[in-house]
Symmetry: C3
Subunit: 155 residues, 3 copies
């Protein structure tokens, strides 16, 4: 099944591509590659939540952060599709980098990023399997809890 | 106009390529790609300033940090030019990653990185537009406030 | 000498490829490129140590962290070799990214990452020389002190 077919089956409508918060572009395609800028978990252009991810009171929970990672990955998919000339022009997801704004001592970054990674396999199946780095950072632009960057290959 | 022409027009002289602070090289070219190591804001081989970026007393201000990001990006451009065989051998800037050593709670990383991004469009025009990730890290080598990594395409 | 010859000469046996701690793969090869996920310093599937790197009491020391970076780089080499179809199918190491879980104020990330970088030149000689970014992060998956990601070219 095509990626657009899987999106329809999953009831997913790609969001509008987020306006960059600085002097850069959302995604770029060249040669066989298409890559995104770091994407924040925006819905309707607004951050879903802000704060540090952790297990203490006042923190963004792992579950909420994983859901934010999926939202950021959806934004990445929208940016990839726009730069590639449509989601079906994406042959394969090759790499995801995830930055998690982390409370000191929080070590669950992998679980958070699974929210982004599973979106890729949900939509692309085997072609969505990728390499990944996940790290805990002290803070992110606008106070976002996660930032997700994606690299893919064009078909 | 060529990149070297724009540099001359802007009165910018590329610095000497910084000596790596470890067992690596400043930049590497292969195939159609040229990429730098993370570059620190060095002037004459010395860090312009050290410390965390933030809004509190004793912090590096956003404006100073953005200026440091531009300095680091100049160093990246020098490294790219050396590896590529001259700045005019660079066809297009495709990606910038910026790490900002951030005071807890500082969320202005995008404004800081604009110092690096605008250098690229100043010098390369449309061909300087790139994807970017900006994150806040707890600390950087030598106490640098920013570290900037750049990837470009060869002409 | 081949990379496998150098490994034998150095008495290095590549470890088993680590099972990903999330929904991703250890390494991926496509076109002329082979890249790893972020690798943690695992021995026999277990983290060698956990904690923040720094100079204070209770911290992972620079020397121990550099040794962990070498262990993580060995894991990366194993993952590259598996995806490439053998270590001798790796023509050149082009990039290393190193994340160091850092005590606030720790700025010795370059020394830590030399543990990874020197492994690459030990095994590949000139073809092991790479670009590198090293940053200090607040925390890493499972509490690892370092995470190392590697990109290489296929022969």
């Amino acid at each position: 099944m095509t990626a657009s077919g899987r999106l329809a089956e999953l009831g997913i409508v790609l969001p509008a591509v987020a306006t960059p918060v600085g002097a850069y572009v959302p995604a770029i395609a060249y040669g066989t590659v298409v890559r995104t800028s770091g994407q924040l978990p925006l819905e309707g252009g607004v951050l879903r939540t802000t704060g540090l991810v952790g297990e203490g009171p006042g923190c963004v929970s792992i579950d909420d952060a994983a859901s934010c990672a999926r939202t950021a990955a959806l934004g990445a998919l929208a940016a990839l599709a726009e730069a590639a000339g449509g989601v079906d022009a994406i042959a394969r997801i090759v790499r995801v980098v995830g930055y998690v704004a982390s409370e000191p001592g929080f070590t669950g970054q992998a679980a958070v990023l699974n929210g982004a990674s599973t979106l890729m396999t949900d939509v692309f199946g085997e072609a969505g399997r990728h390499v990944r780095s996940a790290v805990g950072v002290v803070s992110l632009p606008l106070g976002a809890p996660v930032e997700v960057e994606v690299e893919a290959l064009l078909s």
